[in-house]
Amino acid sequence: MIQPLATALLVVSLIGAVWSAVLLTLSRPVGKRILLGVLGLVELGLLVQCVAGIVAFATQHRHVSGVTFVGYLVVALVILPAAAWWSLTDRSRWGVGVLLIGCLVIPVMIVRMNQIWSSG
């Protein structure tokens, strides 16, 4: 686990959530592409975190549940691409609603990962 990266990802995905909520309220696709770009960066960060997390787990011998910890790291990678796909196949404002949900799931998963990691 890279702690500063986890915090950064948490903050950026929350900003993404607020952004999505604003777009949903405005019902205008202002800057939806930029939002998708930012989410792409978050995804990249999650990928780095996943690799770093697995390496840390394998080398540091912490007493944490490996299946759960690695499960969270890996499942987190699926969320944003799936949300982006499900969002882009809908042209209505609710496509952004899907991004909002994706952006809210990521911070929850990061908090859980932190809890699991620091419990060991």
């Binding site: 299946v67 809908d90 042209r91 209505s92 799931v105």
Partner: protein, 145 residues
Amino acid sequence: MAEPYQAPAPPADLPSATRSGPGRALIAVYAVFALAATARSAVQLATKFDKAPLAYLLSAVAAVIYIVATVCFARGSRTSRRVAVVSCTVELIGVLAVGTASVLDKAAFPDATVWSLYGDGYGYVPVVLPILGLLWLRRSGRSRP
């Protein structure tokens, strides 16, 4: 200024009416719960089934119900919608029953399930979701061929 989103074109058929608009977001939430409940119950059943067999089996049942609901909402055909009504109803009864049971008999639920304490660990979304699902089925099915 970007163009406003296209005015919600009248959905041509029942399946697209079911999976567009708010249904889009509803399916996304259902998919998240299907994933979360499946992952949780898979880990519980595989690593510590003996600790709380009842709670873990209920987790697995919840996972199956979430998967069925997600698929049925996304398909949106007449039959799928009927199955979705059943699965949302079972889900609502399940979350209320397990929620109440977990309050009354804490010993039977030493470890949390998705539905324990009415979905307390999941921001109470599990108790609201089936209600939203049923309301959406009602609304999207109104006056359509």
